[in-house]
Every structure is written in C-alpha cells, then in structure tokens.
Amino acid sequence: MTAVELGQPSFGGGLDLVPTTDETQKAKDYTSDQEVRWCPGCGDYAVLASVRSFLPELGLKRENIVFVSGIGCSSRFPYYLDTYGMHSIHGRAPTIATGLAVTRPDLSVWVVTGDGDALSIGGNHLIHALRRNMNITILLFNNRIYGLTKGQYSPTSEVGKVTKSTPMGSVDAPFNPVSLALGAEATFVGRALDSDRKGLTEVLRQAAAHRGASLVEIFQDCPIFNDGSFDVLRKGDEVAERLIPLVDGEPIRFGNEGEYGVVRSASGGLEVARIADVGEDAVVTHRAGEEDPTQSFALSRLSDQDLTHTVTGIFRKVDRPTYDDGARGQVTAATEQAQQRGDNLQALLSGKDTWAVLPEPENEQ
C-alpha cells in the first residue's frame, strides 16, 4: 500500500463558506414556536438562552444553520431553535452531521448531545468525528446522569453513584470528556458551565470560528435526578478556589486573590500549588495553540470527579485539515480532470471491451 501527499486546502475559519446576512438578528429570530418542555430549573434552559442570544452575533443566514441532535433531554434542543434541525437517534448525531457537512460546505452544522448520547451509545461516532476533524461544532451537555430515562448513572457519573440502576453505587470508572476528546485528536476542546453565560458564549464563539471539529463540554444541572451536582462551582466561598479558568497566553492562576497557580509536577504532569510556595515563575502559561497536546491533556486531568478543581475555557485550538474540505477537494479535482478528459456517463457505461451483435439475417433459422 502506498500513501500520497494530499495537498490539502489551506485552513480558514469554521464559517468561511457559510453565507452571511446584513440583517440584524435577535435572539427572538432563533426562537421557534415550540413550547420548551424541559423540567423547571433544568440547566438546558440557560444553554438555550445563551445559544439563542449568541447565534445572531455570527451574522449567518439563519437558513444555513443546522442543529442535529441524538436522543436525551438535551437532544430536544433543535426543536426550540428556528433553524433547520434534526432530532435523530441515540448516539448517531455525529454521523448525520458528517454526511451533511461533507455535502454542504455552505452550512454551519452543530451537534447537540449529552453525556449518555455522546459518550455511551455514541462514543464511537464522537471519537471518529473528532479524529477526522469534521467541520462541525459539538455541544456536549454533561449532567452526569441519564435524565430522560429517569435517573440511571451515566459514563461521566462519579464512582459509587447511587442511582436507580446502581442501588449499591456504580462501579464504573467515568470518562473525562476533555481527556477523551484530546486523546481522539480533537483540534478544538473547550469547557464551560451552563450558568456562566459569558464564559460559555466565549467558548461558543471560538468554537464556531474554528475550522474543524470543536467539542464543547457544558456542565449542566439536572434538578430532578442529579440536583445541585455542580453547585460547588456556582456558589459559596470556594468557587474561586475550585474553578481554574484558562486564558490563552496567560499564566494559569486562580483563587480569590489569584493565590493559586498551575505548575509542573514531579511526575511530569501538572498540579496546583500556592504561588507563595513556588514563586511566580513556576506557574505555567496556557497555550491552546500548541501542537503538542501534552499540556492540554495534563490540564484536563486537573479536573477531579469531586470538583475539587475544574478547569474551564479553551484547552486546545489547533489547525489541521478537515475531512470535509479534503473529501470535497478530491471530488473537485476529479471533476476538473473528468471535464478536461471529456468523461461522460455513456463512456463509463461502455467501458473498453465491447462487442457488437448485429441484426439477425432474415430467413435464417
């Protein structure tokens, strides 16, 4: 088997080929006539509000935006946006989005999925969409529970979680979605809290602008089956000591007074330290655009299951050719060659080796 140099097209922005409009848009323009049917207090409301108010900022023609979802509470999302949308089947939204993105470069394609949808039944499609670097933006709503099926543990539930299906506590080791995405060669990985509209919008903005697969993990509350699961990141005195916001190009510091920093650990990874103990120079600087994902991965490992620390912001943002640009490039090149050669369907069907059967002579037989 041989490999060839593909001569992939140059990079651009994620929305470069999507038509824009000069008309001013408002959140209301993205609001469909469907009544929103999530439970009162569901974190999905906050995310929906953020997305509705963020989309006008893109200035795209509304008809060129498509939201595709799988199955689960969060996957009802497309019904509530007045764009094109498809509520598909459990775990398969990335596959639908893949076919759409490859054939329609003029569309802004979004996938809305949850921790069960993306990481359990759809885990295979998620990693392959990231590996291929499809030009799509994946919003992974992580509430660490199965909500729509009424409260079973999910692949992101903490070990020992007592649920309807695990009365003695779950024995599964959970996924860390950011680590998983980085391991799957994702070119853009971010994380935000549902209630942090500013932080979420900033991650969405950069995710949309990224050409390639963007994975945005959104921590989100399920008030019915996992109530208050992220409260320690929202309120109380400890919030600042738990949340580690990433700012590209800046030293990674946090705490009420910025008294904590992320530093290299003896094992080669990263750890949290008091700056007073280690000195300013020991604090590592965040570089989302670093080709080597090692530091981004180490940052993802700082997020503990018990939320002692949670890193938010953009972990990684690098350029790599996208599958859809590459596939279209081959079709375009082949089409040009075919036109130059004058290929046509008749010639294809006829092939090279043919023989003619002439009319039968009369009166024979």
Partner: protein
C-alpha cells in the same frame, strides 16, 4: 479480437458445440479467479453468451493445499442465450489434490478432467485425506483425464527469464488458461494485451505470464494428448453493443447513472463488508462524476452519514450485506419517519450472523421487509441477474426520490460476483429522475408557514426542503409528527393516521404488473421466484418444456409493494411453486397475503440452485407428484 490463432490444427477433429461449462479450481493463491475472469473476457469478446460463478473461501489465504483453501471459478458460455453459470462442469481443471477432491463430485461421468500432476505429492495427498493417489488408482476412470505437469512445464518455459523456480511456477494458472484457450479456439492477443496492462509497472512479470500462457497454448497444439478441439460460435443475442459485467459493477454504475439522471450529487456512506465492498471500491473511482464516498467507522455511521447527506439534498446511498443491515435498522426506521430518500444496497450472503461471507443466499427478505421496530414499511426491489442490477438501481432511486423513502435493493453474492453480457444502454434512453425541492411556504391555512409533512395528493410524498432554503426552516426527527405540520405530536388519533399514511404511501408506489412466461399457454403450474434464482428457474422451465410439459414462470422484481395483479396471477394456477435460497420467506408472504397454497422449495447451501434439481421439482409439480 484477434483470429490469427483461432484455428485448430488440421490434423485434429474440430467439434462444434452449443455450450460448454468450464470450472477452474485450485488453491486460493493459484489465481483461479483471475484465470476464470480472463477466459470470460475472451468468451465475451468472441460474442458468446456467458454466465459465471466465482466460488471462493472467506479466508484471504487459507492454508495452502487444504480443502478450505480451494477457490474455483465456473464459466458457462454458449452460442445461444443462457440463464445460469451451469449446474455441472463439462471440463474441470484441477490445480491440486484439494481442488480435485472438492470438485470431482460435480463432474459428470465422461466429463473432461485436466489435472496439474505436479501438486500430487504424498504430502499434498495426505493433507486432503487421499489414501492413494487418484491419478494412479482407478478412481478417475469414469472421466477423460489429462495429466499435465503444469508447474514443470511452466518452469521450463520460463527458464530463459532467469526467474526462480518458485516465482516461475506461480504463472502456472496462465499455462492452464493458454491450454484451455487453445482447446476452445480462443485468440491469444487479448490475453497478452491484458497481461501487459495488468503488469505495466513490472514488465518482467508480464512477459513471464505471457510465456506461460503461450506455453499452455503450444502444449495443446504440439502434444498428442488432446484429440479434439471445440468451437462455440458467437451467440445470437438481441442486437446491440455488449460488455461483460458483474452485479456489483452494474450496481455501482446504476448509482452513478442515478446521480446523473437526477442531477443530484451522490453520497455513499458505507463500511467494508463482503460481498458488497466492490460497490464502494468502484464508486470511489467516480468522484469525477459527482460521487462522494465515505468509509465510515461502522455500518451505523455509514447509513447515518448517507441520511444526513439526503437531508442536505444529496442522493444518499449505503451499501452493505445482511449483518450490516441489522446494524443499520434503527437508522432505516429513522429514514422512514423522516421520509427522506435513501438507497440501501444489501448484497446478501449466507447467514445468520457472520455465516458464509463469500457464499450466496437470499435470506434477508424478511429482514428488509420487517426488520425494524414499529410499522416501518420500506419498498424492496431485487435484481434478477448481474446486468439487471443497473436497471434495478435506477428503479430503486426512482422510488426513493418520488416517494421520499428509504428503498431496499436486495442483490446477493451470486449476482454480485457473477457476470454476464450486458447490452450497454444508450444514456439518452435512461429514465429522467429529476426531482424538485420545496422553495415556498405551503401551509394551507395561509399562515405563510412551511409544513414539512403536508403530502402530495397523488404520491403521499412530503416536500423535500433542504437547509439553505430561506423561510422553510423546520425541525424533523424520530418522534411522531403531526400530520401536515410535522411538529411533535403524541395525539393517539394522529399516530394512527400517520402509521396508516406511511403504509399507504409505500403500498401506493407504482410498480409494473407481473408478467408470466407461459409459451404453451396451457400451464397449470406456476413457478415464481425472486432475485438471483431467475436464471436457474428459467433454465429449469426450459428443461421441463423441452420434455413436453407446460410450466409458467413469473419472477418478482418488486417485493414491496408487490405488483397489483400478483394475486390474480397466483390464483389462476392449480399449483404455485416457490423456490428460494432461504427457508420459504417469499412463500410465507404470498401465503399470508393471498391465501394461496404455495409450495415452498428451499435450499440454503451457499450456492445457486441447479437447473437440474429445479427441473425435477417442477416436473413433479406438473405430474401432481408434489407433496401437499
């Protein structure tokens, strides 16, 4: 086509014959498929009618010299229109003891056997359980056996090239081809040209193979072993220009043509699986004709991407075999609910589970018909021969686009790899498959809204509104939708109505009436089949009629919906016989739907029916000897 060598030596008897069946059998690594393919091309170029049956193991290289490693290629060529690759070979070429042991039972007494004696060593004989050498005992007495030391002769012919003995021996399949080409008065130029092209980058290999091929030809010419040569005149097929084509190639061409005729980009989302992978291989060559191929991470992703492409306005296609259909079932159900066009190519193979990947079977009918949750009707079309795959693909796309529905096309391993002459169609005569996308709001209440499930009164199809169309933004999904508006609906009456509407849409698909072939006009037995059994059933009917009995034949191309005259046809015969390569799936449908006492004759041996056995069944039916 060269005719310079197509003349037998004058001292030999040249016998005219109407038809010949040759089977090349050897080890998986012996190049039997290539040899058979090449002889097929020569027969095609000569103008014979032909039909082929490749038969190979699922393992790429099973242990050399063993029975599981035997690969064979059967070719039937004739001077008239034939229907099958032939029941039994007239000539068996056996390259080793395993090939002899696996195939000799099919050679009729008096048949010609050509054996490569070099491989009949003690060790190779022991490998397949021969206690004594069949070339030396009397077990081959019933046959006209020719002992030819093909490896030795090939080695000798290639000596001047300086190739190693081992490499030289690998060309022995070309020696066999040369010998058979001589025996049947086939030219040498076509094959030599083919070898030069095939090994264009390794001219030394091309020359070696050509030397072996010529050595085989000359061996026939110069030795006294072969007293007779045979001529099979060109067949009187219908006027036209022909080429040889396999089912998978015809299927791929049908998809390319459907894209051109519908003016839609084609998107194939698929995952490699035997025996359907050649469809992917072929379509991946035709990017210049507007075809995008996507090799997905699994079967589910393949069809998911195809459906996504259909949502965006492309012609979504997925190709697979039975196990893949099982994985795709949920997405097919989604496509039924979304009412979007989608073509599902199922090249059936032996099941259940992994089953017999390289062998044929037609046991996916009920899976295609009912293999989904809920009431999820899907049209089904089945081609009856390799070349017919082209027309079937176009017809499948017609249904998919006109009625906005997924459509199953059921091919099978025998059709996929088998080949026959194909009267190349004139593109100008191909059906127009152009379709329209919705561009305007359509709400009947004048609200200016777009209702994605407002149906066409004739076809019951819904509008296809693709993203990018302003004003038609809408959401669709797997949840039940309100009739017309398409919004989520849990209303009981609405669900009942939508289930019936989806069913009515598929039942209302226009398909041609079933035609019955009853040349005598007085048959009281009807034999009805579907898919690849057309050839053996037709050949069986010819035999029965040649014996002075009457039998009517009909073949179902459309399995869902079935032709509207089918019930009348079935009820107008005293006896209905349904041969199938499954345990009676069509006969069950016919019995359930039409309350006819259809007699099911089934066989699931991984091989096509033989005309002889079916003729026996039909004869019994005509004579009233079939069990009730």
């Amino acid at each position: 086509m060269s005719t310079d060598t197509a003349v037998g030596p004058p001292s030999r008897e040249v016998r005219q014959t109407h038809r010949v069946v040759i089977r090349f059998a050897g080890d998986s690594g012996d190049g039997m498929q290539l040899t058979g393919d090449r002889f097929t091309s020569e027969a095609a170029a000569f103008g014979n009618d032909l039909a082929t049956l490749p038969n190979f193991p699922a393992e790429i290289r099973a242990p050399a010299g063993t029975l599981p490693g035997v690969s064979s290629f059967q070719l039937h060529f004739a001077d008239y229109d034939i229907l099958t690759p032939g029941d039994r070979p007239d000539v068996l070429v056996a390259m080793n003891p395993a090939a002899l042991k696996a195939n000799i039972k099919d050679l009729p007494h008096g048949g010609m056997l050509i054996v490569n004696t070099d491989e009949f060593t003690k060790r190779n004989l022991a490998k397949v359980g021969y206690e004594s050498n069949p070339l030396e005992d009397d077990s081959l007495e019933p046959y006209t056996t020719h002992h030819v030391a093909m490896a030795t002769l090939t080695r000798g012919a290639l000596e001047p090239t300086g190739m190693s003995k081992k490499d030289a021996e690998r060309a022995k399949n070309m020696f066999a081809l040369g010998l058979l080409s001589w025996m049947y008065h086939r030219g040498t130029e076509g094959t030599e040209q083919f070898l030069r092209e095939k090994f264009a980058k390794k001219p030394e290999l091309a020359e070696a193979n050509i030397l072996a091929f010529r050595a085989g030809w000359n061996y026939g010419e110069t030795t006294e072993s072969f007293a007779v040569t045979y001529e099979v005149a060109p067949a009187r097929l219908a006027e036209g220009t022909y080429r040889q084509i396999t089912g998978n190639l015809a299927l791929a061409y049908g998809v390319v043509a459907a894209g051109q005729q519908s003016k839609l980009p084609v998107f194939l989302g698929t995952y490699p699986i035997t025996p359907a992978s050649d469809v992917l291989h072929e379509l991946s060559k035709h990017k210049g004709m507007g075809v995008t191929t996507f090799q997905a991470e699994d079967e589910i992703a393949g069809i998911g991407a195809a459906l996504g492409a259909s949502f965006g306005g492309a012609l979504g296609v997925t190709s697979t075999s039975g196990p893949g259909v099982a994985l795709k079932s949920e997405t097919i159900g989604l496509a039924v609910a979304l009412e979007l066009p989608l073509l599902i190519l199922d090249v059936q193979r032996g099941g259940p589970s992994t089953g017999l990947p390289t062998k044929t079977e037609q046991a996916d009918l009920l899976q295609a018909m009912y293999g989904r949750n809920g009431e999820a009707p899907v049209p089904i079309i089945a081609p009856q021969s390799p070349a017919d795959c082209f027309d079937a693909a176009l017809d499948a796309v017609r249904m998919a686009l006109t009625y906005r529905t997924p459509v199953f096309l059921l091919s099978d391993g025998a059709i996929a790899n088998g080949s026959e002459p194909w009267a190349i169609p004139d593109v100008a005569d191909l059906p127009d498959l152009t379709t329209t996308f919705a561009t305007e709001p359509n709400a009947p209440d004048g609200s200016g809204e777009f209702w994605p499930y407002l149906r066409d009164a004739d076809t019951l199809a819904r509008p296809w509104a693709i993203p990018g169309t302003a004003g038609l933004e809408h959401r669709i999904g797997g949840l039940e939708k309100a009739d017309g508006r398409g919004t989520i609906s849990y209303d009981p009456d609405n669900h009942d109505r939508m289930v019936r509407l989806r069913q009515a849409k598929i039942e209302g698909i226009e398909v041609p009436d079933l035609t019955v072939d009853d040349p005598d006009g007085d048959a009281d037995v009807l034999v009805i089949g579907w898919g690849s059994s057309f050839g053996p059933i037709g050949a069986a009917c010819r035999r029965v009629r040649a014996a002075g009995m009457s039998v009517a034949q009909a073949h179902l191309r459309h399995l869902n919906p079935m032709p509207s005259n089918l019930g009348d046809v079935l009820r107008s015969y005293r006896r209905v016989v349904v041969p199938e390569m499954n345990l009676g799936q069509l006969s069950m449908l016919l019995r359930a739907k039409f309350l006819v006492d259809a007699h099911s004759y089934t066989k699931v041996a991984g091989l096509p029916f033989q005309a002889e056995e079916l003729a026996g069944v039909l004869t019994d039916a005509v004579k009233g000897d079939l069990p009730a």
